[in-house]
Each structure stands twice: as C-alpha cells, then as structure tokens.
C-alpha cells in the first residue's frame, strides 16, 4: 500500500514494519501494517483515536511489552534489518537506541540535572565530568540550556510544561539514539510551548529519525516529511506529507484530512 517514492527506492528504509498484526489479548489493534520509514526523516502517524498509531509507535521500542496482554500476532518490525522481536534482542540495548518522548511530560521529581542524565546513569556511566558534559550537550540540543543552566539542581517539576517536555526530549537524546519516537509530544502543551517543540524538532531533524504520533494535522504538515494515515488498525495511506494532504488517493484519507471523518 505504501507508495514507492523515488527516495525510498534509492535508500533502504531504516525502520521496516512488515505485515504487522498486533493484539492486546484477543483484541487485535493492528492489521497487516506495512510501513517503511527512512533514515533521518520525520514521519508523522495520524488517524482517529483508537486507530492503532500509538500502539505501532510503542511497538517500535517495545515499551508496550510492559502491557501484560500486548503481543505481536504475526509480522515483524526491523531496524537496519534486525528483527526487534527476535529472542536475542536485548530490550535495554534497543531502548538506548530508540528514544521515546511521551504525551504527558513526565520528568522524574528529581533535579533537572538528574533527569537529563538518567539514561546515562542507568547505563552505568559514573564519571561526574562525563555526565555534566552530556547534560550540557543534550540540554543545549533541546534548546533548554540557557533557561536552566543556573538551576540545574532545582527540581524538574518547578519548570513550566513546555520546559518539562523539552527536558524530556533532552533526556531522550542524551543517550544519542538513532530513532526518536514521540507520542503526541504537544498534546498537553499550550500553543506557544507547542511552537517551541516544533522548532526544536525542526532543528534536530537530520540528526535523528523521528516518528511522531499526532492528532494535530497542521502540526503534521509543518514538521513531517512523510505522513501515514491509519484508520481502524489499518494503514490507509502513506505518502510525502504535502501529497497526502493535498492530493490524497484514498477517499477515507481525504475525508479525514478535510475534517469530515469523525
């Protein structure tokens, strides 16, 4: 179903979802999803609530393994050709390479510094100097450094919502992952904070491969190179963002992007 655009022919995709069927217990939520995501692209996943886009996102770093009943029924997800659900895959290693930012900004109730270096600490890095360097690097990358450099040891919950979410992004990129998954990163933020996050994603594009779930179609238009539209657990259409929004091939896509599908 995925349209073969010239770029995806030229370059092997980084993330490949192949005929994925995914279920919670007996309740199947993804049906035969085939989707390729190119390295260094920003891919947006859109669709009505309950269409399975978040499940797909959470399957890519296997964070959905925490849900007792979640399981891959058939099909596979590969990153660089490696099947993520192969028995020899260490989820800890996988997650260090596939960062994730959640919908509700949720820094730990610890200091800003401790939040920024959490991933490095659990990875066993103890050297104070290395940690400080990494904290500065990732906070700068997340465009937060100037705002927090004088109060790194204050609690993270004292920051504003937008700052907290940027801290969550800093925390994720401190591990220098290849892929960054974002589950509605702006859903809990006001418009001003949303713009800053979008600018940030714009600055970071090219360094990471982004997969972003969003309910905001304008946002998808602004930041995504490619957009995939899901409905009722099926991938309906995937294309370059402008093509998908301006000349959708599927009538279902058209009714959704024009706001007629409820």
């Amino acid at each position: 179903m995925a349209a073969a655009t010239p770029a995806s022919v030229a370059e092997d995709p980084l993330i490949k979802v192949e005929r994925l069927n995914y279920a919670y217990g007996d309740h199947q939520v993804l049906f035969d999803v085939d989707l390729n995501m190119r390295s260094e692209d920003v891919t947006a996943l859109i669709g009505p609530s309950g269409c399975g886009k978040s499940t797909l996102l959470r399957a890519i770093n296997r964070i959905n393994d925490l849900v007792d009943s979640a399981r891959v029924v058939s099909g596979r997800i590969t990153v660089d050709g490696v099947d993520l659900y192969a028995p020899e895959v260490d989820v800890v290693r996988l997650r260090r390479n596939v960062g994730m930012v959640f919908q509700k900004y949720n820094p730990f109730p610890r200091s800003i510094f401790e939040n920024a270096v959490y991933g490095l600490r659990v990875a066993g890095i103890k050297n104070r100097h290395d940690l400080e360097e990494a904290a500065e690097r990732s906070l700068k990358a997340a465009a937060l450094w100037d705002e927090v450099k004088d109060r790194l040891h204050e609690t993270a919950t004292s920051l504003s919502g937008g700052q907290q979410q940027r801290l969550c992004i800093a925390r994720a990129i401190a591990l220098q992952p290849r892929i960054l998954l974002m589950d509605e990163p702006c859903a809990a933020l006001d418009p001003v904070a949303t713009v800053r996050i979008e600018e940030l994603i714009f600055q970071l594009r090219g360094q990471y491969t982004f997969v972003i779930v969003t309910h905001n179609m304008e946002q998808a238009k602004r930041i995504a190179d490619r957009t995939a539209f899901f409905c009722k657990g099926r991938l309906v259409e995937v294309d370059d963002t402008m093509t998908l929004f301006n000349r959708p091939r599927d009538p279902l896509t058209e009714s959704y992007v024009t706001g007629r599908l409820t």
């Binding site: 007792d68 997650r95 730990f108 109730p109 600490r121 925390r171």
Partner: protein, 393 residues
C-alpha cells in the same frame, strides 16, 4: 402553561413524605456520626482522667519519673494506727515496720503494682523493632513482586486471596502458630542439639538444629511480623501502584532494566507511603497481646533484657574479648523473654486482685501506652506531609 403568579413560588417546598424521609435519614446518619465521635472522646477522656494523675504530678519535674524508669515491683502498703497508708517496696517495708516497731494496723502486698513500667516499655519497643523489620523486608519484597513483576492472572489472584485470609486470621491463632513454629521448631546454630530438636543437621563446626528459639523477643517479633504482614503488603502495594505508570515507562524507555526502574523511579516515590503504613503497623504490633503471650512475654521479670549475668572478664582480657562480650550482650537482648505493655496491662487487670492500687497501675500503663501509640501516629502523619512535599509530581 400556567401564568406565573407573583405570590406563588413555583419552587416552594411542601411537607410531603419524601421531605420527611429526607430529614429523617439525615438525622439518623448525623446521630450515628456524632455517637462515634462521642464514644472515642469518652474513651480518651476516661483514660486521660484516670491515667494522667499517675504519670504526671503537680510538683517538679511534673512527670512521675519513677513510673517511667523503674521496673514493675510488688507494692507494699502499710497502714499505721492513725490510718495513714504508706506505700513502699519490699526493703522499704522492712525499714518502716522496724520504725513502727510492729505498731501498725495492717500490711498489704499488691503484686506488679509498684515500681514503674520500664520493663514493659522496653519489651514492647524491642518486639516492635524486630517485627517491623521482619515485616517490612518480607512485606515490601512481596509487594514489589506483586506490583511490578507478577503478571495479572491466576497466580496473582491466589496470592491476593492468601493475603486477605492472612489478615482475617484471629491473632491468638498467630500466637499458637508462633509457639509451634518459632518457639519450638525454628532452626538455630548450636554445638549440641537439644533433646527436643526436630531435626539436627551437622555442619562440621556447628549444628543446625530445629529446636526452636524459646520464648524470646525474636520468637515474639517474628510472630507479630506475620500479624502485621497483610497490612504492610496491602499498603505497600497501594503505594507502589500510586506511582504514575509514566515513570516506569519513561525509565524503561531510557534503557533502564526493570530493577533499575524500581530502584530509582518507583521505590523512592513510594517510600513515604510505605513508611506511613508501616508506622500504623507498629501501632498494631505494639497493641497485640495474644501473639506474644506464648512466644515472648512474661507476666513478670525483674531484669531488663540486657541486664544479664555474664562471667566477669579477667583483668587482662584483650579488647577483642571485651568487644566479643559486648556483641554477645547485644545479641542476647533478642534471645531474652521480656515484659510487654499489652500483656502487662492484661496481667494487672485480670491476674491480680483488684483494688485502688492495681487500678492506678492499670490506668497509668494504659495512658502511657496510648500516648506512645498516638505519638507514633503523629510521626506518621508528619512523615507523610514532609516527604510528600519533597517528592511532588
């Protein structure tokens, strides 16, 4: 539609049945609530009025230090010819009798009612320390496993049911269990197994003998631990569940293992609640009588647990020998039987003839007991507020 008249309010109430029933229901429920408050106040007031005069005194230092710092003793009351009652202890009685030269009307002895209640206070403190330590280690481990590792299903249901049942077991059953399990059969290291040993496993340098720990702090503490275990497990699990799921997901998404996630991002935020509930567990453990009757408590003991006759060391004993003796004296505390407050109160109220002196000792003990438990509850409230402020999300 009726035209709205200016005199008739369309929303005016009437005296129909539903209004009367509403008023009656409110009155009944309110009376019930007031009764509960009233009963609580009556209990506290009763204990305070009768107990406070025993513990406090009008002149400096305003606290009856004797009552709080001495061991229970037999009270001797000598009535002289003028009708004065002189209260004293055994040795004091002899002195006074000599002074009076046999010239007195009567002498009464009331057991356990003289001296103070330091023995029971210390005993209860030791029992609480052992039981809460054991219950926290076991209970928190169990709660972490149930909350963080176990998958929903048959097994989890079974464990939950078992915990609920454990909470429903009458405390005297725990007492009997403790007698059988800890006093009579628990394993310990000995050089020569006792005759009653159930099973002795020689280990070369020593023998692991299942001969029980006797009635002692350890046996009682372990028994009490099982009494409060369901409280601790249930409360700890609730506290763990109250930590946002997002912390776990975020932590794992940052490449933490499950144990790292628990260690750094779940337990620290659940600890305030766990501590609070464990303090309520302390109150429960301190108050139980039945579980310690057969396992740890004595009605009377004239020594504190660390006042044990050890062989005096020779003058040239090495520092190591001194150190060894201190350690054995410390460990010996836990293998001694003790007096405990609830059991002491039971003894005073049920095992000795009742009179004003016994009653005074009873209310004094109950008052001290109540103050101790209330201060523990206060500490728990303070801890909760204080720690909650530290970790906000």
């Amino acid at each position: 539609m009726k035209p709205a008249s200016s005199t008739e309010n369309p929303f005016a109430g009437d005296q129909s049945g539903i209004h009367r029933r509403e008023a009656a229901a409110r009155r009944v429920l309110r009376t019930g609530s007031y009764l509960v408050v009233l009963i609580t106040a009556a209990i506290l007031l009763h204990i305070f009025v009768k107990g406070a005069p025993v513990v406090f005194q009008p002149e400096w230092p305003f606290v009856n230090t004797k009552f709080l710092t001495e061991l229970p003793a037999t009270l001797h009351v000598i009535e002289d010819k003028q009708g004065h009652h002189i209260e004293t202890d055994v040795s004091g009685a002899d002195v006074i009798k000599k002074q009076l030269g046999g010239n007195f009307a009567s002498e009464k002895t009331i057991s356990h009612s003289g001296g103070g209640i330091l023995g029971p206070i210390v005993g209860t403190a030791l029992l609480v320390i052992v039981s809460v330590s054991v219950a926290l280690i076991l209970g928190v481990s169990c709660a972490i496993y149930l909350s963080e590792y176990a998958k929903k299903g048959k097994f989890l249901e079974t464990v939950r049911l078992a915990i609920l049942n454990l909470a429903g077991v009458p405390s005297v059953v725990f007492g009997l269990f403790g007698l059988g399990a800890f006093v009579l059969t628990a394993p310990k290291f000995v050089d020569v197994p006792a005759e009653r040993s159930v099973l002795a496993i020689p280990l070369g340098f020593t023998t692991l003998s299942f001969e029980g720990w006797d009635t002692c702090v350890l046996s009682g503490g372990f028994t009490l631990a099982f009494v409060i275990l369901p409280v601790i497990i249930t409360a700890s699990e609730q506290c763990l569940q109250a930590v946002p799921q997002g912390f776990r997901e975020t932590s794992m998404a940052l490449g933490a293992t499950r144990w790292q996630t628990i260690r750094y991002s779940v337990l620290p935020f659940a600890t305030p609640g766990i501590l609070t509930s464990s303090i309520l567990g302390i109150s429960r453990a301190a108050g139980e009588t039945a579980p310690i009757m057969f396992t740890a408590a004595l009605a009377f003991k004239d020594k504190l647990p660390w006042q044990k006759d050890l062989l005096p060391l020779p003058a040239d004993a090495s520092i190591f020998a001194h150190w060894e003796q201190s350690v054995s004296r410390f460990l010996g505390i836990f293998t001694e039987s003790v007096q405990a407050l609830p059991y002491h109160i039971y003894t005073l109220a049920a095992k000795i003839p009742q009179n004003e002196y016994a009653e005074r000792a009873q209310y004094g003990s109950v008052f001290v007991f109540l103050v101790l438990v209330a201060s523990l509850a206060a500490v728990s409230v303070w801890l909760r507020i204080h720690l909650r402020k530290k970790y906000q999300w």
